[in-house]
């Protein structure tokens, strides 16, 4: 089984899935809060248009989880707010 590391915890994924698909498959629908209302957000458009699903990938911030293919050992940090 392949794994990525999300906020320090291993998360299994199937080869070919994006980071967002792996999170949703694991039952996670929210992994970020908004800047103003601190509303929980996860994947919405699923194709890179809406920017709701932002995460930090291998230290690079502002990545759309729905576009980044999961790779073994990839580290994903979820964001606390838009302006982190």
């Amino acid at each position: 089984m392949n794994e990525i590391v999300v906020d320090g915890e291993p998360l299994p994924y199937t080869e070919g899935q994006t980071v967002a698909a792996a999170l949703v498959a694991a039952g996670r629908v929210a992994w970020r809060t908004t800047r103003v209302g601190h509303r929980p957000r996860g994947v919405f458009c699923g194709i890179g248009v809406c920017f709701d699903c932002l995460v930090t990938v291998d230290g690079a911030r502002g990545q759309r989880a729905c576009l980044v293919p999961a790779r073994p050992g990839m580290t994903v940090t979820t964001l606390e707010g838009d302006d982190d």
Binding site: T14, E15, G16, V29, I47, L54, V57, V68, P69, D82
Partner: protein
Amino acid sequence: MTEPADLVVVGAGPAGMAAAATALAGGLRVALLDSGTALGGQYWRHPPEHARAAVPTDDLHHGLDRYRALCRALAAHRTAGRLDLRLEHHAWSAVREGDGFAVHAADRREAPRETAVVLRAPRLLVATGAYDRQLPFPGWDLPGVLTAGGMQALLKGGSVAAGSRVALGGTGPFLLPVAAGLAARGVEVVAVCEAAHPRAWLRHPGPLLSNPDKWAEGAGYAATLVRHRVPVRPRTAIVAAEGGERVTSVRIASLAPDGSPRPGTERRVEVDAVGVGWGFAPQLDLLVPLGASLTDSADGNAVVAVDRGQRTTVPGLYAAGETCGVGGAALAVNEGRLAAASVLADARATTVPMNRRLAALRSAVDRQRAFARAMALAHPVPPAWSSWLTDETVVCRCEEVTAGAIRTARADGAPDHRQIKQLTRAGMGWCQGRMCGPAVHCLTTRHRAYEPAERLVATPVTLGALADLDEDPPVSTASPVSAASPVPATSTEPTDSSETDKECP
């Protein structure tokens, strides 16, 4: 491929694949780029090649024979060195350069690392498709509420269901394959809420009778839905989603013909995910800055204006597929072929006589366009949809601008979505108004088609990659520039200030 391309095609969905295959068959060298990890675009969205065995999704597709044939054709030309295929390349700008075009892209095959690439050719064909058109409603920003297309993308790309008990809502035939796909993966689809009524189709008997393949496709989905006991509710809508950290229920109401909820019909249904879509918005980001003229489409969108050969008003610039008006994959394939035929004719600078094959293509495009128009008229955005909104409903998800703020700005005299943006920041965030633009437009100006704001950067690109481009990239068909350190996606925001005065007279 080391020699320069004769044609750059942006977008490897049905239109772009067909266009590239036709241009290659006609002897041209083609560079084809797409942001996805596989050929197919959204319609034929697939996992990457190496993962197809692990993530089987073929059963979710329609028209796979055509997809495979196009894949085979493109693979053969790639082997022969005539096709420069660039997957996971995000085109962020297309500009005039001399007699041709330069397409700037970010190579994200090693994401999050990003490398800048420039692809040049005397001719450019834009087939960038469309994305779900959304209308806000109370609770639509709760986690677990997705676009219908997003749900299908998770399914087709990764075989992941967004929930186990799902309600779908909006309008248009696209809700049916999404429902069928979810049901096929064991999801309990508790309702498909279609705001329109099928009777509306009967006002367009001509396009109905002349497109039997569309009905065969629809009948296939209907059979799947009956088999899985999925209820399709005409003239109903999801008027609210409820929950705390995620959606837990929706409110469904019957609609009057104008789209307002009928009093007393509202009921609550428990769900763990929701999919919504109100047709599609064409992706015009590369075309508008190049100066291509737009025209009104029957579905409320402005689309790129093309002639009978898919030529835009900009010499050397062609368009095919949903950028020319939302009409589905079969139409997109034919438009792609037609566009490539024009490219071939124009490249040879000779008048190509109208042969039987070209005439048949044009006839098919005309027939399928008529169907698309009937579809748009039968599945309109309900005029009274805004009656679902409360003042607290978030309309702009990125900047968290509420319906109340937009109503106030409108009352203060803001005439359109651009002025609303200046007064409220709606459309000024990460997505640059792609999600809220059509809705804000509907809330302010209903009498003309929605034209997206001009965005000089079509997708985020790192500032480092932009800086590297200043160092005179060598002139070749593809110029890799050194990798840049990523910056947050907010790097797109400066484009916002570029909104021109001409848009707000």
